[in-house]
Amino acid sequence: EADIYQTPRYLVIGTGKKITLECSQTMGHDKMYWYQQDPGMELHLIHYSYGVNSTEKGDLSSESTVSRIRTEHFPLTLESARPSHTSQYLCASSRWGGLDGELFFGEGSRLTVL
Protein backbone atom coordinates (compact mmCIF):
# COMPACT_ATOMS: atom_id res chain seq x y z
CA GLU A 1 0.00 0.00 0.00
CA ALA A 2 1.26 3.44 -0.92
CA ASP A 3 1.49 5.99 1.88
CA ILE A 4 -0.08 8.90 0.09
CA TYR A 5 -3.28 10.46 1.33
CA GLN A 6 -5.79 12.82 -0.17
CA THR A 7 -8.56 14.75 1.53
CA PRO A 8 -11.39 15.24 1.06
CA ARG A 9 -12.33 12.12 -0.91
CA TYR A 10 -15.57 13.72 -2.03
CA LEU A 11 -16.56 17.39 -2.11
CA VAL A 12 -19.71 19.09 -3.40
CA ILE A 13 -19.60 22.87 -3.39
CA GLY A 14 -21.25 25.86 -4.98
CA THR A 15 -19.85 28.03 -7.73
CA GLY A 16 -17.46 30.73 -6.58
CA LYS A 17 -16.20 28.94 -3.48
CA LYS A 18 -12.53 28.59 -2.70
CA ILE A 19 -11.35 25.04 -2.13
CA THR A 20 -8.11 23.34 -1.22
CA LEU A 21 -7.45 19.69 -1.93
CA GLU A 22 -4.89 18.23 0.42
CA CYS A 23 -2.23 15.68 -0.46
CA SER A 24 0.36 14.25 1.88
CA GLN A 25 2.89 11.45 1.51
CA THR A 26 5.03 9.82 4.14
CA MET A 27 7.52 8.16 1.81
CA GLY A 28 9.94 11.08 1.65
CA HIS A 29 9.46 11.39 -2.10
CA ASP A 30 10.80 14.54 -3.71
CA LYS A 31 8.59 14.43 -6.79
CA MET A 32 4.86 15.09 -6.49
CA TYR A 33 2.13 15.49 -9.10
CA TRP A 34 -1.51 16.46 -9.56
CA TYR A 35 -3.52 14.79 -12.30
CA GLN A 36 -7.06 15.50 -13.41
CA GLN A 37 -9.18 12.57 -14.55
CA ASP A 38 -12.73 12.48 -15.88
CA PRO A 39 -14.53 9.14 -15.29
CA GLY A 40 -12.97 6.35 -17.33
CA MET A 41 -10.73 8.74 -19.18
CA GLU A 42 -6.99 9.30 -19.33
CA LEU A 43 -5.06 11.21 -16.71
CA HIS A 44 -3.90 14.73 -17.51
CA LEU A 45 -1.01 16.31 -15.63
CA ILE A 46 -1.92 19.73 -14.25
CA HIS A 47 0.91 20.44 -11.78
CA TYR A 48 4.14 18.87 -10.61
CA SER A 49 6.94 19.55 -8.19
CA TYR A 50 10.46 18.19 -7.95
CA GLY A 51 11.06 19.40 -4.42
CA VAL A 52 10.41 22.09 -1.84
CA ASN A 53 9.69 25.49 -3.39
CA SER A 54 9.57 23.95 -6.86
CA THR A 55 6.28 23.92 -8.78
CA GLU A 56 5.54 23.66 -12.49
CA LYS A 57 2.43 23.62 -14.63
CA GLY A 58 1.60 20.49 -16.54
CA ASP A 59 0.13 20.00 -19.98
CA LEU A 60 -3.49 20.62 -19.15
CA SER A 61 -4.29 24.23 -18.53
CA SER A 62 -5.72 24.61 -15.07
CA GLU A 63 -6.94 27.55 -13.02
CA SER A 64 -5.72 25.84 -9.89
CA THR A 65 -2.52 26.66 -8.03
CA VAL A 66 -0.21 24.52 -5.92
CA SER A 67 2.44 25.06 -3.28
CA ARG A 68 5.28 22.93 -1.95
CA ILE A 69 6.48 24.31 1.35
CA ARG A 70 7.19 20.91 2.89
CA THR A 71 8.41 17.76 1.18
CA GLU A 72 5.46 15.72 2.33
CA HIS A 73 2.68 18.16 1.49
CA PHE A 74 1.41 19.33 -1.93
CA PRO A 75 -1.97 21.07 -1.69
CA LEU A 76 -3.98 22.21 -4.70
CA THR A 77 -6.17 25.33 -4.48
CA LEU A 78 -9.01 26.65 -6.61
CA GLU A 79 -9.74 30.28 -5.75
CA SER A 80 -13.18 30.33 -7.35
CA ALA A 81 -14.68 27.00 -8.30
CA ARG A 82 -16.84 26.62 -11.40
CA PRO A 83 -18.87 23.70 -12.77
CA SER A 84 -16.15 23.11 -15.38
CA HIS A 85 -13.84 22.16 -12.49
CA THR A 86 -15.99 19.14 -11.72
CA SER A 87 -13.65 16.16 -12.01
CA GLN A 88 -11.50 13.75 -10.07
CA TYR A 89 -8.12 15.03 -8.90
CA LEU A 90 -5.36 12.51 -8.28
CA CYS A 91 -2.19 13.23 -6.37
CA ALA A 92 0.92 11.12 -6.90
CA SER A 93 4.52 10.99 -5.82
CA SER A 94 7.72 9.32 -6.93
CA ARG A 95 11.33 9.24 -5.84
CA TRP A 96 14.56 10.12 -7.51
CA GLY A 97 16.38 6.96 -8.40
CA GLY A 98 13.26 4.84 -8.51
CA LEU A 99 11.66 3.39 -11.59
CA ASP A 100 10.99 6.34 -13.88
CA GLY A 101 7.39 5.38 -14.45
CA GLU A 102 6.47 4.23 -10.97
CA LEU A 103 4.19 6.83 -9.50
CA PHE A 104 2.35 6.18 -6.25
CA PHE A 105 -1.16 7.55 -6.39
CA GLY A 106 -3.58 8.58 -3.72
CA GLU A 107 -7.19 7.50 -3.91
CA GLY A 108 -8.32 10.77 -5.43
CA SER A 109 -10.56 13.70 -4.55
CA ARG A 110 -13.82 13.78 -6.47
CA LEU A 111 -14.99 17.38 -6.83
CA THR A 112 -18.47 18.43 -7.91
CA VAL A 113 -19.18 22.12 -8.42
CA LEU A 114 -22.83 23.04 -8.63
Binding site: E42, L43, D59, L90, L99, D100, G101, E102, L103, E107
Partner: protein
Amino acid sequence: GESVGLHLPTLSVQEGDNSIINCAYSNSASDYFIWYKQESGKGPQFIIDIRSNMDKRQGQRVTVLLNKTVKHLSLQIAATQPGDSAVYFCALQGAQKLVFGQGTRLTINP
Protein backbone atom coordinates in the same frame (compact mmCIF):
# COMPACT_ATOMS: atom_id res chain seq x y z
CA GLY B 1 4.27 15.31 -29.33
CA GLU B 2 3.53 11.96 -27.87
CA SER B 3 0.12 10.35 -27.79
CA VAL B 4 -1.13 7.02 -26.60
CA GLY B 5 -4.32 5.25 -27.64
CA LEU B 6 -6.02 2.03 -26.69
CA HIS B 7 -7.76 -0.17 -29.18
CA LEU B 8 -10.80 -1.08 -27.12
CA PRO B 9 -12.41 0.87 -24.30
CA THR B 10 -13.88 -2.32 -22.80
CA LEU B 11 -12.90 -5.97 -22.67
CA SER B 12 -14.91 -8.81 -21.19
CA VAL B 13 -13.32 -12.21 -20.48
CA GLN B 14 -14.24 -15.42 -18.70
CA GLU B 15 -12.63 -16.08 -15.37
CA GLY B 16 -9.58 -18.26 -15.92
CA ASP B 17 -9.01 -17.14 -19.50
CA ASN B 18 -6.10 -14.99 -20.59
CA SER B 19 -6.68 -11.27 -21.20
CA ILE B 20 -4.88 -9.16 -23.76
CA ILE B 21 -5.10 -5.39 -23.62
CA ASN B 22 -3.62 -3.42 -26.48
CA CYS B 23 -2.18 0.04 -26.81
CA ALA B 24 -0.71 2.06 -29.68
CA TYR B 25 1.59 5.04 -29.55
CA SER B 26 2.56 7.66 -32.06
CA ASN B 27 6.13 8.70 -31.36
CA SER B 28 8.72 6.23 -32.59
CA ALA B 29 11.29 7.91 -30.32
CA SER B 30 9.39 6.80 -27.18
CA ASP B 31 11.62 4.46 -25.22
CA TYR B 32 9.87 3.69 -21.96
CA PHE B 33 6.38 2.29 -21.43
CA ILE B 34 4.34 1.51 -18.36
CA TRP B 35 1.08 -0.22 -17.53
CA TYR B 36 -1.16 0.91 -14.68
CA LYS B 37 -4.23 -0.70 -13.11
CA GLN B 38 -6.99 1.43 -11.59
CA GLU B 39 -9.62 -0.28 -9.48
CA SER B 40 -12.93 1.39 -8.83
CA GLY B 41 -12.61 4.24 -6.34
CA LYS B 42 -8.84 4.05 -6.19
CA GLY B 43 -5.85 5.69 -7.76
CA PRO B 44 -3.84 3.95 -10.50
CA GLN B 45 -1.30 1.36 -9.42
CA PHE B 46 1.92 0.54 -11.26
CA ILE B 47 1.92 -2.96 -12.78
CA ILE B 48 4.93 -3.35 -15.04
CA ASP B 49 7.22 -1.37 -17.30
CA ILE B 50 9.37 -2.04 -20.33
CA ARG B 51 12.14 -0.17 -22.11
CA SER B 52 12.55 -0.05 -25.86
CA ASN B 53 15.65 -2.24 -25.80
CA MET B 54 13.38 -5.15 -24.86
CA ASP B 55 10.40 -6.68 -26.66
CA LYS B 56 9.03 -8.72 -23.78
CA ARG B 57 8.97 -8.53 -20.01
CA GLN B 58 7.24 -10.80 -17.54
CA GLY B 59 5.91 -10.23 -14.07
CA GLN B 60 3.65 -12.21 -11.85
CA ARG B 61 0.84 -13.41 -14.18
CA VAL B 62 1.45 -10.42 -16.45
CA THR B 63 3.52 -10.04 -19.60
CA VAL B 64 4.13 -6.88 -21.55
CA LEU B 65 5.01 -7.10 -25.23
CA LEU B 66 6.47 -4.23 -27.21
CA ASN B 67 6.48 -4.10 -31.01
CA LYS B 68 8.45 -1.03 -31.99
CA THR B 69 7.98 -1.63 -35.70
CA VAL B 70 4.25 -1.02 -35.52
CA LYS B 71 4.40 1.08 -32.32
CA HIS B 72 2.22 -1.30 -30.40
CA LEU B 73 2.22 -2.38 -26.77
CA SER B 74 0.17 -5.09 -25.12
CA LEU B 75 -0.48 -6.36 -21.63
CA GLN B 76 -1.30 -10.01 -21.19
CA ILE B 77 -2.87 -11.27 -17.98
CA ALA B 78 -2.76 -15.02 -17.48
CA ALA B 79 -5.63 -16.92 -15.83
CA THR B 80 -7.70 -13.81 -15.24
CA GLN B 81 -9.23 -13.55 -11.79
CA PRO B 82 -12.10 -11.43 -10.39
CA GLY B 83 -9.52 -9.22 -8.70
CA ASP B 84 -8.21 -8.25 -12.12
CA SER B 85 -11.38 -6.26 -12.81
CA ALA B 86 -10.20 -2.70 -13.30
CA VAL B 87 -9.36 -0.06 -15.87
CA TYR B 88 -5.91 -0.58 -17.39
CA PHE B 89 -3.88 2.33 -18.71
CA CYS B 90 -0.77 2.29 -20.81
CA ALA B 91 1.57 5.23 -20.46
CA LEU B 92 4.81 6.34 -22.01
CA GLN B 93 7.56 8.56 -20.79
CA GLY B 94 7.38 11.93 -22.48
CA ALA B 95 9.41 15.03 -21.81
CA GLN B 96 9.51 15.18 -17.99
CA LYS B 97 6.14 13.49 -17.58
CA LEU B 98 4.12 10.38 -18.23
CA VAL B 99 1.56 10.47 -21.06
CA PHE B 100 -1.43 8.25 -20.33
CA GLY B 101 -3.80 6.57 -22.76
CA GLN B 102 -7.56 6.41 -22.28
CA GLY B 103 -7.85 3.10 -20.52
CA THR B 104 -9.50 -0.27 -21.13
CA ARG B 105 -12.10 -1.49 -18.65
CA LEU B 106 -11.59 -5.20 -18.03
CA THR B 107 -14.67 -7.10 -16.85
CA ILE B 108 -14.47 -10.69 -15.62
CA ASN B 109 -17.38 -13.02 -16.24
CA PRO B 110 -17.82 -15.88 -13.73
